[in-house]
Amino acid sequence: MNKILEVKDLSVSFDTYGAEVKAVRGVSFDLEEKETLAIVGESGSGKSVTAQSIMRLIQMPPGKFVNGSILFNGEDLTEKPEKQMENIRGKEIGMIFQDPMTSLNPTMTIGKQIAEGLIKHRNMSKKEAHLKGIELLKLVGIPTPEVRINQYPHEYSGGMRQRAMIAIALACNPKILIADEPTTALDVTIQAQILDLMRGLQEETGTAIILITHDLGIVANMASRVAVMYGGKIVETGTVDEIFYHPKHPYTWGLLGSMPKLDIEEEELQVIPGSPPDLADPPKGCPFVTRCPYAMSACTKQMPAYTNISDTQKTACWLLDDRAPEVQIPESAIVGGSEINA
């Protein structure tokens, strides 16, 4: 597999009144061709800031790159001048957002919004771009595209707007598609349609997807690899099977445990007590220390290094240190039957 994106030790901060909020603190990951990498975490974990940094959509100031690099095609995106970024955004890397109503321009027809990128990046004439737009709307499953292309976003339903967003994002065949909570604003039956569409299009075009979500069901459905973020850091990463069936980090256990299970009866849901850390003043050691049932004194002092669990799985937790006591994964975090875990 070929790496197409390498994020190395990325740190992003925001200067706010009185304090510097360290939203992303030393995040590293790779993205390979044709794969889907899911970044999961709670609000404030830094997952969206990571994604927006890749697209360079962070307003600077107040935001700033403190450290690290984002390598795409061998070039560091954090150092690119804005003019050159315009040739990457939409052409090489496409993005779809959570709320399709606020991310589409309400004063432009859908057709014009699709054509924008095609005219700029692929040197199409207006007419060609219009025809290509109809083709794209058809591809994303919008009925009567010849009519719909001349309509405005408010004439579309929520699901259709998200389809239109996908059409815009994929118009120039980007190598990477970043989807930031693409279905959170949609109903479940529409969500199923959109996920199905994204999977189908990926098979057809071979685009790599970075999927940002808090829903572990969507991760299980879409992802090939997963990065779990907490407090601005990736605490665990691995293939989707490793994360669901052999998780090693207590936060991953907590996340898996707090999901209600459809197939079995539970009296009480497993809870992660407390609330996430304040990133204006993050804990010195592991960010999860205040909520972790297994916290030790080492955890408060220093951030644990990554332990390689396998070629693909890495976990940052002091429990994996040789000196730490042996801890068993709690029952609530065990997913599926024993045949899967074996």
Partner: protein, 332 residues
Amino acid sequence: MPSTKEKLLEIKDLKKHFKLDRKSILKAVDGISFDIYQGETFGLVGESGCGKSTAGRTIMRMYEATDGKVDFVGRNVHHIQSKREIKEFNKSMQMIFQDPYASLNPRMTVKDIIAEGIDIHGLIKSPKERAERVNELLELVGLNKDHGSRFPHEFSGGQRQRIGIARALAVNPEFIVADEPISALDVSIQAQIVNLLKRLQKDHGLTYLFIAHDLSMVKHISDRVGVMYLGKMVEIAKSNELYHEPLHPYTRALISAIPVPNPQLERTRERIILEGDVPSPVNPPSGCRFRTRCPLAMDVCSRVEPEWQEYKEDRWVACHLYDERYKEGSLA
């Protein structure tokens, strides 16, 4: 599920229509009937625009009903006239809202927010008693005493939802309508709030109407679940039965659409993907409202509206597939 099946609420053919302009009427809730038993949690699910929130609000008489009735312990909620009786009634029903940011007055301290109901209903005699009651409520929902003198903006979403719950409990209600109380919260916080609601129900013998679109949470918290589509109830069942043996094609699609946090299962699972969007409730399809998206739609579905019938004990469904007269259609 409580062993006695005493009806706390009886909802009969309840309708709530909103007039949009001279010609069009939005039929948000268009004739729903069901009972809520003492001490149970009744889950109400459906997609946005199906009328579940309107149903909850009409039951509480936050909206006047267009037609039909809501009996609360034998009394028609919408017929209560005198101010005194309305006040008494308001005390027995409370609501928890979806957005913990918008539903707390930013200019009031937490203790004043929680005690507002206590003050209105004159439930306490002295300021000392008031402070004690507020502290007791704060502790009940897992907050500290000293949180009382702070303002809502100083709290996280989960904590705010706890404040909203304390406010609802302040007047000792019997029945609580929780309208998407966890949708705005993070997964790990959702579990905290759901556990809290369950514990409070056990300790105080509360009855809940739990409105949500997240079916897995609804299944976890509810004893029985009602599924709504475009202003109509399409199915009611005990929550287990609903998930293991959904009858209505819409319920089946809804359940099949939830992504399960289990990758191996997701890879092999057959999914029913509905086509198209929910039609407008201003101009709903004739006959069965689901027929335009139903994979099993028959000829009769466009002509005749399916009857709301008890399929077996505690199992209600409105679908021609379960009607003797039209049964020849595939029951796959």
